[in-house]
Amino acid sequence: MIIRENTELTESQKRRVLERVEERNFTCASCGSGDFSVREALEMGFLFLDEEHGTYMVALTCANPDCGAPRTGIRLYRTEFLWDE
């Protein structure tokens, strides 16, 4: 049995992630940019012993084309972004 660990996000879910990014003033650790595109989310509560249930690592890609390390991530709780309208 294959467990698909990453969750694909809908457009509204991605929009909410970007809202959280903005609220937290989250910036790229490599270039300092605050512009990101949102990818998939990894539920970490089951897999990692140091994570609480409902915690996700949401994959973000820095929008700055000159960024040296564009792939990063933001830790969010399920209730912060993962619901369908």
Binding site: M1, I2, I3, R4, E5, N6, R39, E40, A41, L42, M44, G45, F46, L47, F48, L49, D50, E51, H53, M57, V58, A59, T61, R71, T72, G73
Partner: protein
């Protein structure tokens, strides 16, 4: 028929047998304690066990691994006790070698001297006679011995069965649990119904031994302790008082031997690992190290939920990389090579050769699962980087920090394992990036893990980040050839 008595070699091998078999039983209980569940299926599916010797309940909402299921048995029953699987395995394997040598000596002398007649049932009439003997015992009376023989019919059949059926059966079911033997001769383990059948039968045979020992000792007392022990000490029913004293002293000596061996093992685990390991490693290298895996299980055999051992790295870098489907992953291959290389996951996925194998996974703790693994043959990576002539070993460095990520295991530091270089050339040694037709799951070592099918699971490093070619590994960690070898005293080569 020659005159049957108790010559010195029977008495000596009987005494040596007591030592080895008592160590085998206690170390066997230690091994059982690390996965205290028995199955009739090779999936070792949680909840499908027919016997369990633990009260632990595993969580359903959090990843647990089989290290969390280990039991901590007392040294009173287990050798050495206290969750020391590595040391228990050393004692078990050294004892089994001694036991087999002692048994072979006994059987050879049995046939060379004609003493085998003591076990040979010359007539079918012995079976009803044995039943009558049992009825006599149950009537609190003693049956007579057979004419001109040292045993009554029941004793003759029972001892014969222990020597020629139970003991070989225990050796054969033990061998069926060796990953190297299973991998090279899959038909052999199937002959027992599968790996977990072999493990369960091995356990039932242990119980049979225990029942035999208890009844045997009880009967020695019933027949007359002094008289019976005299046969095994002086070779005849003479000096019963002296025999009683010597037998009790020998039993006390056996207890002291176990106590001292246990204390030493727990106080000096590294020294025990080195001393006992020398014996077992040399034997293993001669008998098992060159065996190559030839497994090809069917898709129908695949385990629906392959069991897990080891917990994923909890570093932020790993979690971000996993959320991005390991797009940033790189494998560094270096050390003593002509062409150090760095492979991306894409490089590995598009490697010219993609190999798939369906194989039985053997955990050192005793559980199994059957999985399909796809990846790059390790020999092709080796050929790409061209090791220098002095290279003898390959070290697999992982992203797991055991102190941080694996609280159920004692010790800390980056997890690594060392292999002999020649194992990389085995056909079914691969760096796997897929499992059961999909991407390798995080729980099973994503994005890259080793598959080395003739050894137990812990050697197959998961979450690999770097491969280093070496001429010597004594400078790494404690110098024992791997994180588990350093911290929990396992063997470096684990073909059994």
């Amino acid at each position: 028929m020659p005159e049957l008595d108790f010559p010195a070699w029977i008495r000596i091998t009987h005494f040596i047998n007591i030592i080895f078999i008592s160590f085998l039983i206690r170390s066997g209980i230690e091994i059982l304690g690390t996965h205290p569940k028995l199955y009739w299926n090779d999936d070792s599916k949680p909840g499908s066990e027919w016997a369990r010797f633990t009260r632990k309940v595993m969580p359903k909402d959090k990843l647990y691994d089989t290290l969390d299921e280990e039991e901590d048995y007392s040294s009173a029953v287990a050798m050495p006790g206290h969750k020391q699987l590595g040391l228990g395995r050393h004692w078990h394997f050294v004892s089994v070698l001694g036991w087999i040598l002692c048994g072979l000596t006994y059987v050879i002398l049995l046939f060379a001297t004609g003493e085998w007649h003591r076990f040979w049932p010359y007539s079918w009439a012995i079976f009803p006679q044995a039943f009558e003997d049992m009825v006599t015992y149950l009537s609190f009376d003693l049956p007579p011995t057979l004419p001109g023989e040292p045993y009554n019919a029941l004793q003759k059949l029972t001892y014969g069965a222990v020597v020629f059926i139970l003991a070989p059966f225990q050796i054969l079911t033990g061998a069926a649990q060796s990953p190297a033997i299973e991998a090279r001769f899959p038909w052999y383990v199937r002959m027992f119904g599968g790996r977990q059948w072999a493990r369960s039968l091995h356990f039932l045979a242990l119980l049979a031994f225990l029942v035999f020992i208890v009844i045997h000792l009880f009967m020695v007392v019933v027949h007359g302790f002094g008289k019976e022990t005299a046969k095994m000490i002086f070779g005849a029913e003479v000096y019963p008082v002296a025999a009683t004293i010597i037998a009790l002293a020998a039993l006390a000596g056996l207890v002291v031997l176990h106590w001292a061996a246990t204390k030493y093992t727990l106080a000096y685990p590294r020294s025990t690992q080195r001393i006992l390991g020398k014996v077992t490693n040399n034997t293993r290298r001669v008998l098992l190290h060159r065996l190559k895996s030839r497994q090809d299980y069917s898709k129908a055999d695949l385990t629906p939920e392959h069991r897990v051992n080891g917990k994923p790295p909890t570093s932020e870098e790993y979690k971000i990389m996993a959320a991005h489907n390991f797009a940033d992953y790189t494998l560094e291959v270096g050390g003593l090579v002509e062409r150090p290389m760095i492979f991306t996951l894409e490089d590995l996925l598009t490697f010219p050769t993609k190999q798939t194998q369906r194989v039985l996974h053997n955990c050192v703790q005793g559980w199994t699962s059957i999985g399909e693994w796809t990846g790059v043959p390790l020999r092709q990576i080796v050929e790409s980087v061209r090791p220098r002539p002095e290279v003898r070993f390959i070290c697999f460095w992982t992203m797991q920090d055991s102190g941080r990520d694996e609280p159920s295991a004692p010790g800390s530091g980056q997890f690594y394992e060392v292999l002999d270089l020649h194992l990389a050339y085995h056909e079914q040694t691969i760096l796997a990036y897929e499992m059961n037709g999909g991407p390798l799951p995080i729980t099973h070592g994503a994005p890259l893990r080793l598959r080395l099918e003739t050894q137990v699971g812990f050697k197959m490093a998961k979450w690999i980040e770097r491969i280093e070619f070496l001429d010597d590994y004594s400078h790494i960690g404690e110098g024992m050839g791997g994180w588990r070898e350093d911290n929990v005293y396992y063997d470096k080569d684990v073909e059994m």
